[in-house]
């Protein structure tokens, strides 16, 4: 009754007031910087590392040279293995917590999150201390006479993957937990009633229904992995550089912002490609926002 009066009221002021700030924010802090990075990727540098604003494809040409392609391959490989390991460990884990240990699932879920209240850098450093030549693990192995000299765990790709899995594991568990929790018990019972054995039920009912969680988790693990330079720095020692390390170097010692920008654009393109694939496979953007 009275609502008709309110609809006629001007909507412009509240609209501007409510959506204005975020528009300005996104515009100035996301759109403009990214556009600027795009522009810079087509610029060059002079001998004193100053940016020269003249259109050039030099950066992209350099980045498609063989040595850079090898680093992309290494990055993608590290990200791939990290994601796969996270799925192989994360899925059973999330499943067991949600369905087997259901009564305690809240606490068990929290226990995955709690370690992440400690600074992630120092936890990765904890791994470095543990795996070092005079670290706890090596000391134990030597004391047990299993080895005669310290095993070289550190500063290679394997340990870097370990570190990445460690940091990104919750990002796989959270969407999986969400998806598995939503499983309707009735569907499982129906499947059993219709005579499906455990394995069939899993592959034909449970997995398809929870696969969205796997996809969402994969994206949330794979993409950050490409940029997590501190894990490669601390555990990889410079031997397992990912694209993030390359970019960081250009903004530091490399003193080549245009090259770094071009690398960033390439990284953005890889990200967009992966998101597109994710959407085509049926993934929803909402589940990425947690």
């Amino acid at each position: 009754m009275g609502s008709k009066r309110h609809n006629i009221r001007s909507n412009i002021l509240p609209k501007v007031f409510m959506v204005g700030p975020i528009t300005l924010w996104l515009g100035f802090l996301i759109v403009i910087p990214l556009l600027y990075v795009l522009v810079m990727s087509f610029c060059g540098t002079d001998e004193y590392y100053n940016i020269v604003y003249k259109f050039t494809l030099e950066n992209y040409k350099r980045l498609f040279a063989f040595n850079y392609l090898e680093i992309y391959a290494q990055s993608l490989l590290i990200a791939f293995f990290t994601t796969v390991i996270c799925i192989l460990l994360g899925y059973p884990f999330a499943y067991l917590i949600t369905r087997k240990f259901t009564r305690k699932k809240a606490i068990l879920y929290m226990m995955v999150i709690i370690p992440f209240w400690t600074n992630s850098l120092i936890r990765i450093y904890g791994w470095r201390t543990f795996l070092g030549a005079t670290g706890f693990l090596n000391n134990l192995l030597m004391d047990l006479h299993l080895v005669t000299k310290p095993v070289e765990f550190l500063f290679n790709r394997g340990t870097t993957i370990l570190g990445m899995v460690y940091c990104l594991f919750p990002f796989m568990v959270i969407p999986l937990y969400s998806a598995i929790e939503k499983l309707d018990q009735n569907l499982l019972e129906a499947s059993a009633d219709l005579g499906a054995k455990g394995r069939n039920t899993f592959f034909k009912v449970i997995l398809p229904l929870t696969i969205s969680g796997v996809f969402a988790g994969s994206i949330m693990v794979f993409i950050p992995c490409l940029g997590y330079f501190f894990v490669s720095d601390i555990l990889g020692g410079g031997n397992a550089d990912v694209i993030g390390n390359l970019i960081k170097r250009q903004f530091q010692s490399g003193n080549d912002w245009p090259l770094g920008s071009a690398l960033s654009i390439i990284l953005i393109l890889i990200t967009l490609l992966l998101v597109r694939i994710y959407q085509k496979l049926g993934g929803s953007m909402e589940s990425l926002g947690m």
Partner: protein
């Protein structure tokens, strides 16, 4: 669950505020009550900074870097005057001067300059020391853990032996490493000839298998922890490692070592110029040089300081590189941008 986390949040906030009792004010320009210095990691002792703060009442904010190029990148990307003091090496001083990035030093404020060893003043990269004052120097030498490696290592070339696979820690510095590869072939660290560069590239890549770790911040850590049994790094780092583990030995390469000399420079537009002058003068005091030399035993251009450090310092070849090493060695110099790009390509390929 949300309630739990919100309570945790509140507690964390309270904890943060509790430690905030007696918080210091943010450093801001003006009044020269603060000083923003940007120095190499493991190079300026905390005790020295503390002493300066106590004596002058100026609060010092310390940021660190581990390569000249990192420092340059940060200084250039910041607004002018963000830093009052930086520590470029020889060739980097020259680069900064050429780009007009340095303030002239007010010599009237730098009375302790008489403490400095003449041999380290008035060098080619800054004649008359208009913009810079030397701080510490040294060589990029070799460290060997003799408990594990029984061979006699005498040159950079020895490091390329395949039997040392996965055992070397090197500086995370492209001029230092590529230069070392060049020297192992008998070439200059500042080679620009394209044919020679191709050879240097191949040589550098030979080292890849032997390198276990890149570290310019604290290469001695890997030596001390045993993660690496060979090192190519700063001489004082080796000296310190030797003190922790007497089995570690220093070797100056027969080809001639990579030499460096780091300097105090005041970047253009520094907000606390007077404090910066006070600081540099303080660093040239004999006692300060002694404190520095005891914690970071590098080659010390401060003659008065060296005198105070005594025999223990001057006779230790790791702390005080002998004259022959200094004569035979080579400094990094600036090269043209095309060659620089070539060096960068070699470095990228090495590191992946």
């Amino acid at each position: 669950m949300k309630k739990t986390l919100i309570i945790s949040l509140v507690t964390l906030i309270l904890a943060g505020l509790f430690t905030g009792c007696g918080s210091k004010t943010d450093s801001e320009a003006g009044g020269d009550k603060t000083l923003n210095i940007f120095v190499w990691t493991e190079y300026v002792p905390d005790s020295v900074i503390q002493k300066f703060e106590d004596e002058t009442g100026i609060q010092v904010n310390v940021s660190t870097y581990s390569s000249n190029e990192d420092m340059l990148a940060k200084v250039k990307s910041e607004t002018e005057g963000a830093y009052d003091i930086v520590q470029p090496s020889d060739y980097m001083v020259q680069q900064m001067i050429a780009q007009g990035m340095c303030e002239e030093l007010d010599k009237t404020k730098l009375t302790n300059i008489t403490n400095m060893n003449e041999a380290y003043l008035n060098l080619s990269y800054d004649p008359g020391n208009v913009y810079s004052i030397p701080y510490l120097g040294g060589a990029g030498a070799i460290a060997v853990n003799t408990d594990v490696i029984k061979d006699d290592i005498t040159s950079y070339a020895d490091l390329f032996d395949p039997k040392y696979a996965d055992s070397l820690v090197v500086l995370d510095d492209f001029r230092a490493v590529i230069g070392m590869a060049a020297k192992s072939l008998g070439y200059s660290m500042n080679e620009t000839d394209p044919t020679k560069l191709a050879e240097i590239k191949a040589r550098t890549l030979e080292l890849k298998n032997n390198i276990k770790l890149y570290d310019s911040d604290s290469p001695k850590s890997a030596l001390i922890s045993g993660d690496c049994t060979l090192a190519y790094c700063w001489s004082a780092e080796i000296a310190l490692a030797m003190e922790e583990n007497p089995a570690i030995k220093i070797v100056y390469p027969s080809e001639g070592a990579y030499l460096f000399l780091d300097n105090w420079v005041v970047p253009k537009g520094a907000k606390n110029y007077d404090a910066a002058m006070q600081f540099i003068n303080f660093m040239m005091e004999a006692e300060t040089a002694q404190m520095v030399g005891e914690e970071f035993p590098y080659l010390n251009p401060n003659a008065a300081g060296v005198a105070l450090l005594g025999e223990d310092f001057s006779s230790n070849i790791a702390k005080n590189p002998p004259a022959e090493v200094l004569q035979k060695g080579e400094f990094v110099e600036n090269i043209d941008s095309d060659s620089l790009a070539a060096y960068d390509e070699i470095w990228t390929e090495l590191k992946q």
